[in-house]
Amino acid sequence: MYKLWASAYKEFLLLIRDLGGMAILFVMPLILLITITLIQNNTFKTINDSKIPILFVDNDKGSVSQQINKGLTSTNAFEVINKVSEQEAKDLVFKGDYQLAIVIPENLSSDLEIKVNENVDGILAKFGVEEELEPSILKKDKKKEVKLYFDPATQQSFKSSVKNGIDRVISGIEIQTIYRAFEEQLSEEPSTEPIFDTNSFISFKEIVPESAKNTIPNASQHNIPAWSLFAIFFIILPLSINMVKEKSQGTFVRLRTNPVSYATVLGGKTIVYLGVCVVQFILMLLVGLYLFPVISLPEITITGKLPLLLIVSLFAGLAAVGLGLLLGTVFKTHEQSAPFGATLVVILAALGGVWVPVFAMPKFMQVLSNISPMNWGLNAFYDVFLRNVGFSEIIPEITLLFLFFIITTTIAILYNEKKIAV
């Protein structure tokens, strides 16, 4: 036990003497957390605060284009800038000055009205309300196209949400036009009383779990667990580099000749780096609690959750340390461990759902995400943070994290034993 504490003390000294390493361990994850939360929070707040400027070319100049313009403006997501020339709007978008240009075709309002009236007349004629059906003045199969020009650099998710938004506005206009046409045909004289209630009959209501009613998830509550976990797993980088450095310095060779087991050597490192993981997590929480409200980011609520959060961070830390010990044992040079470690953390984070939620991944990747310890940790954090569960519900996840630590550390010890038999 004494040797274990001596090893841990040495690791602690090595850590605090490396100011650059300390900055990477503690400051960088905080910067990362603040940056990501600010960006994501801004995305959430885009609807209210910063509007995306888009170009609007109105070749219709009718009621429909006015309604589309009004509809886009009323979403509060866009700042609509009117342009006369389609070519100019297209050039500006393709140059990257704007994300999107919407071009409304000529005669859209009048043609839509004619089309709807003809359809309504056709329906009414079948029911014997309309006496005679006049031939269509519109060319068959001639559809009106609202052109959307996107900046080639625009992300697909943005394109999809814009398309859906515009589609919803246009559908609304079409429905209103149909209702109006029916009203005009069915009422014999102009009436101030509407025949149809044109308001949406179906609406959405979000039901949250009883236990989570007081804590509606916000950007901070999503980001702090995710990026804390990312930071915790980044521990594998300094840990494995520290171990590789011991090999190049020759201190590792000396350790192998000392009457101390490799498990004790790894144990000393585990104690210190596990402490680092927990401190990292506490710093993240403190930032969420005290700094976020100051910089207008949503604050987090951890009342009654702290013990469980610390337990999850401890087990996530163990899994991260286990992986770091394995990489540090296997790799021989800094050039091997640093890029591999960094890339592995990014892959595990991607697989674990830190960037893209697991449910949004392709089926194959969803299955694969189950092997990422970051996925287990993230689920445990979300369980505590957002689903307000008790200790028993996080047992499966923390067990997996602990097993991961045991397996990786055992492999490291066995590999080291085998390596002696060169």
């Binding site: 004494y2 040797k3 001596a6 090893s7 003390y9 040495k10 000294l13 090595l14 003497r17 490396d18 310095q249 020759g250 201190t251 060779v253 000396r254 350790l255 192998r256 000749t257 000392n258 009457p259 101390v260 002696i420 038999a421 060169v422």
Partner: protein
């Protein structure tokens, strides 16, 4: 006493043995110099004796113990001074020595006293709380030595302990080793400094191509080698003038 029987080592993938059929007995309190050109097999032999690598064939005992049966007990009675400095540059000399001593189970005032004692002898008292990264080569070599002898080993293996140091540091190291030997330690050391080995060692063995060519007291080897007036001339006569570059 170190008893080596038919000890051989062939690295995985290598075509030839690095150490081949070495038979040797090193008595208690001897200072045995293992001499040989680059790539002769000196470090491989010391690495096997200090448990860093496993032999391919043969066996050895140190004070009647084997690594297979008494790994930790054996490690407790030996000390290894590696060729590299094998110290943590960002830690002070004291922190390095405290940690190395702790790994042998030394603690508390006893450890502090031992550190103080050795550091004083090797003239490093004023630098005890300075970081190793600021030390000169000679100072590092002396701390490297102290780190391996704090637990007062019965057998001490030194792999080129005086390489790259100034004369003063070399003298301090050698005289401290002589003192340890006087107190009962058996010393096995490798070196390219043949004059140093001639005066320091009670017996030397010349190894080349993994084989022990000869061994005996330096004066005896000089006497036996026709025309030789020094150990260096014996060495050249036994190993030749051919350059020994290897990768």
């Amino acid at each position: 006493m170190i008893t080596i029987n038919q000890l051989s080592k062939k690295y995985i993938g290598a075509e030839e043995y690095s150490v081949s059929n070495i038979d040797l007995v090193i008595e208690n309190q001897e200072i045995f110099g293992l001499l040989g050109p680059n790539g002769a097999g000196k470090t491989t032999l010391i690495s096997m004796l200090s448990s860093l690598i496993k032999p391919t064939e043969g066996s050895f005992t140190i004070n009647g113990l084997t690594y297979k049966q008494n790994k930790n007990k054996l490690k407790q009675i030996i000390g290894i001074v590696p060729q590299e400095y094998a110290l943590y540059p960002s830690l002070t000399a004291y922190e390095n020595l405290f940690y190395l001593g702790s790994m042998y189970g030394l603690k508390g005032n006893k450890l502090k006293e031992l550190i103080k004692q050795h550091v004083e002898i090797l003239g490093l008292t004023d630098f005890l709380n300075k970081k190793i990264l600021h030390f000169s080569g000679g100072m590092k070599r002396r701390i490297n030595l102290i780190g391996s002898i704090l637990h007062e080993p019965k057998v001490l293996f030194l792999d080129e302990p005086t390489v790259g140091v100034d004369v003063q540091s070399k003298n301090a190291i050698i005289s401290h080793l002589k003192e340890l030997n006087k107190n009962g330690a058996t010393i096995v050391y490798t070196s390219h400094h043949l004059n140093e080995a001639e005066s320091f060692c009670t017996r030397v063995g010349i190894i080349d191509h993994g084989k022990l060519i000869c061994n005996g007291e330096p004066s005896e080897l000089i006497k036996l080698q026709e025309g030789a007036r020094s150990l260096e001339e014996v060495f050249i006569a036994k190993t030749g003038k051919e350059l020994r570059d290897y990768v």
